[in-house]
């Protein structure tokens, strides 16, 4: 249970928040400590809002506000992932009361470590979205004209697909994965934005896809029309950075805020690629 216990201890007037900061990509990170007045029903988002409004460290030093990413504040948009007291999660659903129960001294905030830091807690998750393109996670319909309804689907199929379809691309599964390692490139002095982008994309495409993308590939392979790209998706899953890169640590499934059965998807992907490989061998 993530929610606050009903028998709460008496709360402090204020509490400490330690933030791992970094000014620009590729530069040294450093810690800063803030003091935040305690209020009822705070979450890490409201803590960062108070820090932004005051922008002063515990020693009274004026600093720039901590940069961070957030959106819906109800754990459905996937923006606000960060490492809180050593655990990757969404900061909107990280409630201060619970964090203080675990550690009354301070709350520690760090950016995710598997993505390049842009500034402070803001990270660059382009690679995560690129992986969705690599596995062609879409239904290749002919057109957007009115062609009547899709195929009828039994409730059972919907109940299998819907949980996978709730993946909000937050990146928690990737942060927790030992096989997913950071890919960070720096733009060269004489390199245009386009050339730099192409170099980044190439680097992403030879690295591990990650649990989220494997799961989306399986979701779309299970769709009546999405299935028409099954073979291409399985080729990608068998290629560099594909499903064979998974080390079966099973961390992904344990940190997923939406409790998506990621390891089930990976296991299905493993079986499907094996069958696909055998088929391809026979078709040679």
């Amino acid at each position: 249970m993530i929610a606050p216990s009903t028998t709460q201890k008496k709360r402090p007037k204020s509490f400490r928040v330690r933030v791992l900061r970094q000014d620009t990509p590729g530069t040294e990170s450093y810690w800063e400590l803030f003091d935040v007045d305690y209020e009822r029903e705070m979450n890490v988002i409201s803590v960062l809002q108070r820090i932004a409004a005051k922008a002063e460290t515990v020693d009274g030093k004026k600093v720039s506000p901590v940069a961070w990413d957030c959106g819906c504040l109800e754990e459905v948009c996937g923006s606000c992932s960060m490492v809180i007291n050593g655990r990757v999660r969404q900061s909107c659903s990280a409630l201060v009361d619970n964090l203080l129960n675990d550690n009354p001294d301070e709350i520690v905030l760090e950016p995710m470590s598997k993505f390049p830091v842009i500034r402070d807690l803001v990270i660059d998750r382009q690679r995560l979205f690129r992986a969705l393109e690599r596995v062609q996670a879409w239904v290749p319909v002919d057109s957007y004209y009115d062609m009547g309804p899709g195929e009828r689907q039994l409730r059972e199929a919907q109940e299998q697909n819907y949980p996978l379809s709730q993946c909000m691309s937050c990146g928690c599964c990737l942060e927790a994965c030992p096989q997913y390692t950071k890919v960070e490139l720096q733009q060269q002095a004489n390199e245009t934005a386009e050339v730099f982008q192409a170099r980044k994309t190439a680097a992403y495409d030879s690295s591990f896809l990650g649990a989220h993308a494997i799961s989306q590939a399986m979701l779309h392979n299970h769709h009546p029309t999405g299935k028409s790209l099954e073979s291409e998706r399985l080729d990608t899953l068998m290629g560099p950075g594909g499903v064979a890169s998974c080390g079966n640590a099973q961390n992904c499934v344990s940190v997923c805020p939406k409790e998506i059965p990621l390891t089930t998807s990976i296991a299905r992907a493993g079986r499907a690629t094996t069958i696909h490989a055998v088929k391809k061998w026979f078709e040679k």
Binding site: A3, D23, A67, G71, L73, S93, L132, V141, N161, S165
Partner: protein, 663 residues
Amino acid sequence: MADQKVVVVGGGLAGLSVTMKLAELGVKVDLLSLTPVKRSHSVCAQGGINSCNDQARQLGDSEWNHLDDTVYGGDFLNHQPPVKEMAYWAPKVIDLMDRLGVPFNRTGEGFIDRRRFGGTLFKRTAFAGATTGQQLLYALDEQVRRSESEGMVKKFEFWDFLGPIKDETGRCRGVIAQDMVSMEIRAFPADAVVVATGGNGLLYGKSTMSVFCTGSAASRCFQAGANYGNGEFIQVHPTAIPGADKLRLMSESARGEGGRVWVPRKPQDPRSPNQIPEGERYYFLEERYPKYGNLVPRDIATREIFDICVNEGLSIDEDRMCVYLDLTHISKAELDRKLGGILEIYEKFQGVDPRFEPMKIFPAVHYSMGGLWSDYVKSGDGGLLPGAPRNQMTSIEGLYAIGECDYHYHGANRLGANSLLSCIFSGLFIGPSIVSYASNQKGGYKQLASSTIEAALAVHTSRHKALLSGNGGNENPYLIHQELGDLMTRVATVVRRNDQLEQAMSKVDDLHQRAMRVSLSDTGNWTNQNVIFAKAVQDMFPMAKTMLKGALLRDECRGAHYKPDFEKPSLTSEEPVERRRQAELWCDEFEANNDRFLKSTIGTWNAETNQPDITYEDIDSSLIPPRPRLYGLVGAETIEEVWNERAAAKKALAKEPALAGAN
């Protein structure tokens, strides 16, 4: 067809649907968004999307009924042709979403399941668990990613739209935007521009909206000369979970699936809700509105909850206002299947399992019915003319507005599960309109004069630099935002009074001036969220002023705009003749009021006075004549009787000359 390019600002349901449609039609799109489009606020929509469907049809529903419910629920402030077109497109929109892989809930036999929503008596709402907006958004996000991989779409995520580029003729020729990472400001020339940037809930500080819903993009178009319609119409959703940073939505689908709203009859009854016997519970919506029960339209449910807590003193808690929303009579399995997503939100943030204990909820600002004024071209059958260049075009030529940031479709009050529909419908529908507009222009996006671009860039670059240099100001943008939010929440939500609105307008003037003197704690030029936010806060003021002035001038009650000083009373007499006389008088007053106020409020920004000028626009009610909205009113039957007689007489009168002509 010459090479065409369109800039779409905003990547929620409306922005994505127009993007994919344009790509299909062979037009290249630059798609700009404050956030990765997959994280847009549409993701928060929970309950579902409406359309007439096979089952409802056999129970008497039709697209016409959907139109009727929408304009009746909207208190007839909607222009009817766009609503008609939307209602008739609705079944096709659902079919397309189904083909795109949206995992709609299914019946045992495999058909798309439907539930009932507010303001209708039919089960019209298709849904994917309780995260329908998320599922629709993801399906469209996937299609746009597909277009991107084919080279038709280029996404610019984490870019802030600063304003349209207008040429010497006043036509919109592109946009100026800023990279929120590198802070680079650059121009995006285009043949046409679509803004699909959602609502402006952040004007109220806390609302059910995401942090990007500042309304700044619409405000920047408004300040550049686009008119703004019906600004004062803001939907306050009846059921939200109070929180320190946000008021989290608790979907209407909770009531659609049978959820009941109640308070203990005894004020602040200390017992836990499950121990309060049935007879000591006040199901006030069911008692006051026997026909619709818990599914009255949102404006009404909100006012009743407000009334119960504020006027009747029946709030559950003493120190904070709230009522129960109870699902505990429904089986856990069914709740998990149909409402899982929203129940998890409640459980995570409140620490109580709503499957076993009633939720505590209270109304919260939720949706902007008003928005950028946009045009349409009516077809012969009373709908919209497909492909007409002016459909959804704002008062700036070449600049289109769709989705929550336009003012069409929802009138004075939006029905639940109609917003997802209006976003997707308008996005798909105007694709061909934009193509036909762009095809008939002389200068394409490549021919935009560099002097025009330079001039537009200079304006935004100097604003940016001035903010960073501080200009000697000392105001904190975060505190100004908080003050504005508190003020707007106090005077411009559920209940509106003219004295309070007047006072608020002068306070907002002061705050606006202070907002122009902000000092930033971050003056750097790398991922400076401080300066982006400061600009957004400054741009909230033209909107806030338009909302307040529109509300002040509208001396009536209509939909979400409720002024108790101008409320029409219920009938008081029990005696039939006198009651009839009262009903006649009631209808006279209703008609006189409509003559005066059944009009769209149109705001035009006046840069010299720093205030909006307000004018009024007649509404096209040619399909369904306006009639009194009588949910729950005492004497409703008598008023309805009088009204129907009058309506029949009018109809007969209108028909006579036509018949004569036919002979």
